[in-house]
């Protein structure tokens, strides 16, 4: 290995793009470590509190693209109190100060401020790509700064963020000279949009491939945009309501037919079912369809639409499609790899819902399925076993029965065997979410069979500490474990404290761990941040080690307890 000059090694390493592979390369020897780190351009940091920006830059001075994740996953479901943390500003500050040539910043579940956005826009001359997923804390003013100052901006992708919309003219802030846009997604914005500005922006962006509009963009504007940008590959429709007899609508029909490159459709934030046939002409080439934000489309319409989509690989849909509709999906979409079925009525027991039948039908028709998120009313072991037999390639399997402790609906037994069949059959499974009535047994199976499991989400399951112990003992590759409302206590928590340093994080809420147990853990493992918090500040008043901890979030870190924790977070 020493016989090749560094440049040659670097050139070889350039072909290795996966972060995991590059991490492995860096472990081979010091020489490789050095070459790799100096040539690394993309860094992924799964927990922004595990490392500091200074250390990142020290190791990877040439970094151009950074991905950061902040809050724990359960923050998506309102389990993490407000102001917990995940602030990106300190990172931007250090990166700016160190004159990193940042080109891309991808953030998930972080708190982003207008000041941060402005700092980005002013500090990084070559900044090209900003992707914010489920972030909060900023307004359209920050977007205006990005638009105005980032001369070579290619991508501005806002996915499901909480953005305060000042109804300013942030779109206007894109200078006339900005022609580099490739991807623009502002679907999550709630305020009005200057439509004329939008049209002009699209008109001067010949490289635009992906455009996702907010609800404020009406059908007329959509039609005009599509005329300007028939090269679009990915389209997020804002409002799709119009009188089908109108001229606009007929113009739209002709325009859509010209969009030969369209492969991905989403949005339909406001839609009338009778307008949907307008998109039939492009359905046959679609590989990705997301109608999960589209309110009020009856299952029959969805079914009619999907019959046209024979090349679909990714489908996100609401459960109003029903079991029959899923049957149509199964017979039409043979290439399907990813399916997500969301509940249209999460709290009620509506008629619109899917059951195990739909899932079985899908498994029969779509053998290439690798990723599933399925919200349903009921499930049976038998169905899961059939699914396990038919689809052996699951990488992600997330099943959510809306009634969280519901047993097998035909036998009233726990769903242990069904999930056990899934993990046994799908050797490559990496992400698993469980629901329904579950005992320790299912964890026994998971520990035994799910060798590649990296992320596990559990709620209302298990009978005793054994459940958690099976997982900690058996799942070698587990990185993220998140648990709510399970009877796991200190025994499980403390049985193998070293394990947590091999994982990214552990979340336990409403379990049986006590303050004393957490203290013990924190004492033993100085390189873990063990954070305790609750809704109110009761933890501060609590000095009793026997007290149960409402929320525990622990994660490995190289930089010790964080300094920006709010009052209610107690780092032991």
């Amino acid at each position: 290995m020493n016989y090749f000059p560094d440049e040659v090694m670097e050139h070889v390493f350039d072909f290795v793009t996966s972060n995991r592979d590059r991490n492995a390369i860096s472990l081979v020897c010091k020489l490789w470590y050095r070459i790799e780190r100096l040539s690394r351009q993309r860094v992924f940091i799964g927990n922004c509190y595990a490392i500091s920006p200074e250390r990142l830059i020290a190791r990877f001075p040439g970094v151009k693209s950074i991905t950061l994740k902040g809050k724990p996953h359960f923050a998506d479901f309102n389990l993490v109190p407000h102001d917990w943390g995940g602030h990106v500003y300190p990172w931007i500050e250090v990166l700016a100060r160190s004159r990193v040539n940042l080109e891309e910043l991808r953030l998930k579940r972080m708190v982003v401020t207008d000041e941060g956005l402005e700092l980005i826009s002013r500090s990084f001359v070559n900044f090209k790509s900003l992707v914010l997923v489920t972030c909060e804390g900023f307004t359209t003013d920050g977007l205006a700064a990005i638009a105005a100052n980032c001369r070579s901006l290619k991508e501005l992708d806002l996915q499901e963020n909480e953005v305060e919309d000042h109804r300013g003219q942030w779109l206007n802030c894109f200078p006339e000279s900005c022609t580099s846009l490739v991807s623009l997604n502002f679907a999550c914005l709630k305020g009005d949009i200057n439509l004329a500005t939008l049209e002009r922006l699209v008109a001067r962006s010949p490289n635009l491939k992906s455009l996702r509009l907010s609800r404020a963009v009406p059908l007329e504007t959509l039609q005009k945009i599509l005329v300007r940008a028939p090269q679009l590959v990915d389209l997020g429709v804002g409002s799709f309501v119009h009188d089908p007899d109108s001229e606009t609508y007929s113009k739209l029909l002709t325009t859509i037919e010209k969009c030969k490159s369209m492969r991905s459709l989403c949005g339909f934030l406001e839609v009338a079912a009778y307008c949907l046939p307008a998109i039939y002409p492009i359905c046959s080439s679609l590989t990705s369809l997301n109608l999960s934000y589209a309110p009020g489309i009856p299952g029959s319409e969805l079914t009619k639409l999907i019959r046209h989509c024979r090349k679909l690989q990714c489908l996100w849909i609401l459960d109003c499609i029903g079991d029959k509709g899923l049957g149509v999906v199964a017979s039409s979409c043979k290439e399907l790899q990813e399916l997500r079925v969301f509940p249209s009525d999460p709290y009620g027991v509506g008629n619109a819902s899917v059951t195990e039948e739909g899932l079985v039908a899908i498994s029969r028709g779509c053998p290439k399925l690798t990723s599933l998120l399925y919200f349903c009313q009921q499930m049976t072991n038998a169905a899961l076993k059939i699914v396990a037999q038919n689809c052996r390639n699951f990488i992600q399997f997330r099943l959510c029965i809306l009634d969280p402790t519901k047993p097998d609906s035909s036998t009233n037994e726990p769903l242990d065997e069904g999930f056990g069949a899934i993990v046994q059959s799908c050797k490559g499974i990496r992400r698993l979410s469980l629901s329904g009535l579950l005992t320790d047994q299912v964890f026994y199976y998971i520990g035994m069979y799910a060798e590649q499991l990296e992320m596990l989400s559990i709620a209302f399951a298990a009978d005793s500490d054994k459940g958690m112990l099976y997982v900690l003992n058996g799942c070698k590759k587990i990185r993220k474990l998140e648990i709510m409302e399970c009877p796991f206590g200190n025994i499980a928590l403390l049985s193998d404290v070293g394990k947590y340093e091999t994982m990214r994080s552990l979340w336990m809420s409403s379990c049986e761990v006590t303050l004393g147990g957490c203290k013990t853990l924190a004492k033993k493992m100085p390189r873990l941040n063990v954070e305790i918090f609750s809704e109110n500040n009761e933890m501060e008043n609590c000095i009793d080690d026997e007290q149960k901890v409402q929320k525990l979030y622990l994660y490995r870190t190289l930089v010790g307890p964080r300094k920006d924790a709010p009052d209610y977070v107690w780092t032991l």
Partner: protein, 376 residues
């Protein structure tokens, strides 16, 4: 304990899983040697149904702090099924109910290795190299188990989420722990009662909840207010779309002619507020126009009426409820408001404070903030 060399041990026990001979060995840990015989068993046992020990889970009324429990396993499932057949006393049969699901008892080495490690760690003092393994455990595959020190030096990489080689682990001595829970966890809790709407369930992002609740024409139950952090909630539509409109009178200070507004046409305070602006902006401008004596005031000089909900504007929206009281608009949920409102008034804010309505308008909801931003 059945299936295990019956030692009737007092200390926490561990079972070594031996792939070769598929037997269970009991390893006695150091704790016992240290004479902690008075320590109560804190074991998690996995035994076939029929064993009494199955229920021997921390029901001891020991309130002392104990060492961490260690996992102990019962029989292999394949053996267990035979046991079940023999010993089925109606114990939790579901535990090993359909062991047909398990094609082979111990396919992967990782699980076994780990249990071996549990055994190893029991025997060794920290920190020790784990390289010496008893020969019986050789798998024909290197157990890549690095000593604690090495794993520490590798922590450098971990923070940046490097791929875990999956094996660099620092095992801590279970017996070294000072405290463990004495919370008695019942071994059997078959049916956990389905809870009332719980925070965090179902696991759907707020973003989605709002969309779906907006869409449903049928009256959907309002999601439990489980959002401690601020969420820009889109306003829920008013139910009852079929009923006839609900028109209430609305008067504005300084405008002699009143209007009527259909509350059913709106689903939020925000929309009502903008309706107020629409209804009265022209009229107010006309009034001021005539009072100022000027004519042909340009359209642009019509000032929008803003801030009626948060006290910041020149005017404030109040209403009279079914009990005849004057109330500040915005305190109660929209639907409740609609059900009690009888008429509306738009008063000058200065008058409102003079009237001392009392309620400090200190709503912290994002809705109010949004209104602020929209109308400021």
């Amino acid at each position: 304990m059945e299936g295990v060399s019956g030692n009737g041990l007092a200390g926490p026990q561990l079972l070594d899983l031996m792939p070769n001979n598929r037997e269970w060995l009991v390893m006695i840990d150091g704790a016992k040697a240290r004479g902690s015989s008075e320590e109560k068993k804190l074991e998690l046992r996995l035994g076939p149904p029929g064993t009494d020990d199955w229920c021997n889970l921390k029901q001891d009324t020991n309130s002392k702090r104990r060492d961490e429990a260690l996992l102990s396993f019962g029989r292999l499932p394949s053996m267990a099924s035979a046991q079940i057949a023999a010993n089925n006393g109606g114990h939790q049969a579901h535990k090993f109910g359909s062991s047909e699901a398990l094609a082979s008892p111990w396919p992967g080495t990782s699980y076994k290795e780990n249990c071996q490690k549990l055994q190893e760690q029991e025997q060794m003092k920290p920190p020790r190299s784990y390289h010496q393994f008893p020969s019986t455990i050789s798998q024909g595959k290197n157990l890549p188990f690095s000593p604690k020190e090495a794993s520490q030096s590798n922590c450098n990489h971990k923070g940046l989420n490097l791929q875990d080689s999956g094996v660099k682990k620092a095992f801590s001595q279970a017996s070294a722990s000072a405290s463990a829970a004495n919370t008695a966890v019942p071994s059997v809790s078959q049916k956990r009662t389905a809870p009332a709407p719980v925070v965090g369930w179902p696991p759907i992002r707020s973003f989605r909840k709002n969309i779906t609740s907006n869409s449903s024409a049928k009256p959907s139950p309002e999601p439990q207010n489980d959002t401690p952090n601020k969420v820009a909630r889109e306003d829920k539509p008013v139910e009852t779309c079929e009923k006839k409109g609900m028109f209430v009178k609305i008067n504005m200070d300084g405008v002699p002619i009143g209007r009527k507004v259909d509350l059913k046409a709106y689903d939020s305070y925000e929309k009502l507020s903008s309706a107020v602006d629409e209804l009265f902006r022209g009229l107010l401008a006309a009034q001021q126009d005539s009072s100022a004596g000027g004519i042909n005031k340009k359209q642009e000089e019509e000032k929008p009426i803003t801030g009626v909900l948060d006290g910041r504007g020149e005017y404030t929206l109040v209403y009279e409820d079914n009990e005849g009281d004057r109330m500040l608009v915005g305190d109660v949920p929209w639907r409740m408001f609609v059900s009690t409102v009888k008429r509306l008034r738009v008063l000058k804010s200065s008058e409102v404070s003079a009237l001392c309505l009392g309620t400090k308008h200190d709503k912290n909801s994002l809705e109010m903030k949004t209104n602020q931003k929209i109308f400021s």
